[in-house]
Symmetry: C2
Subunit: 194 residues, 2 copies
């Protein structure tokens, strides 16, 4: 296999976890997703809820720029969280061939030549349908939440990496899960990793 | 084959023409590139040089917003050019299975379900190397030109389509030709089109 580590950034509801798990299975390598959260909890002593809420998401999309005021203090909880995330992800990549979903892993592992950086996205309809499948019927409020989750992921990514989230140029491969479908996305990622 | 038409948007120097030609060959379908320019020349009566210069490029990256002042007049030459480009590309897509490189074809054919929309990009080093291979050693002035060409393509695309050029979400598949290489890009496009 040409690439030892595959990072998957993804829009909320684009099926990143399902696709990532399937890619890992086909290539016979580890799959890390919730494991990142678990290890960051161990590393920092923060609660799981705190890590889940702030590990990938800006505190609030409504407040936009204000969300991050004061956060450049390196001892702030959010900065400690980011440091721990980087440490955990680097360790995972070091230890075994693996697929890592989320958490700006593409950026954290940007200096590794053995890393394939994938971004998955989809149209709003596909994402809403997916979320309804996973969590039941989706209300208008939840539709807004889907969009809000992506805005918060984007803000968070931008803050810590200085890069635009979802900009093709930051990845090796960006796939539209809406038009290509899950199985085709898995095939293409496996093919690109070879 | 699942997709009859493959559009390839690409950064200057990312090897879009080479990749597009190879994809067309492997799938046994038509390849359109300079043909678009030729047909637009016939359609409009503009010179080939004019069509080449303004078909895909904003008049000037330096002047930025000023480049388009007055262009929303539907009888302006640039608008006539855009209308002709749309007509030619729609005709190509209607007639035969094909690969179309450049000219915002992804946007022009956005309502077709049988169309695979690809974007190719690369890091600056790869693009400069490619241009040097094609046109000889590259000077600092030419390096700036490479960047300038992409800025002008981006401005042009944005003006006529209202979309961001190179934003992954506008495509089915976005590939980093720098890290994946030409052959792998060809393989992945062929695979995705099946």
């Amino acid at each position: 296999m040409g690439k030892r580590v595959i990072t998957i950034g993804r829009e909320f509801g684009s099926g990143g976890r399902t696709i990532g798990r399937q890619v890992a299975k086909e290539l016979g390598i580890e799959f890390y997703d919730k494991d990142i959260i678990r290890n960051v909890v161990k590393e920092t002593g923060f609660t799981q809820k705190y890590v889940e809420q702030y590990g990938e998401y800006a505190p609030s999309a409504d407040q936009f720029a204000y969300s991050f005021v004061g956060l450049d203090d390196r001892t702030s909880p959010i900065m400690l969280l980011w440091e721990a995330e980087q440490k955990v992800i680097r360790q995972f990549a070091e230890e075994k061939s693996c697929v890592i979903v989320g958490s700006a892993a593409d950026y954290i592992l940007r200096d590794r030549d053995d890393c394939l950086r994938v971004f998955l996205y989809a149209d709003e309809e596909t994402k809403e349908k997916r979320i309804a499948e996973l969590y039941g019927a989706i209300s208008l409020k939840e539709k807004n939440r889907v969009h809000d989750m992506d805005v918060r992921r984007g803000l968070n990514y931008k803050y810590f990496t200085g890069q635009e989230w979802g900009k093709a140029q930051n990845y090796d491969l960006a796939l539209n899960r809406g038009t290509l479908g899950i199985d085709r996305c898995v095939e293409l990622i496996v093919e690109a990793a070879k």
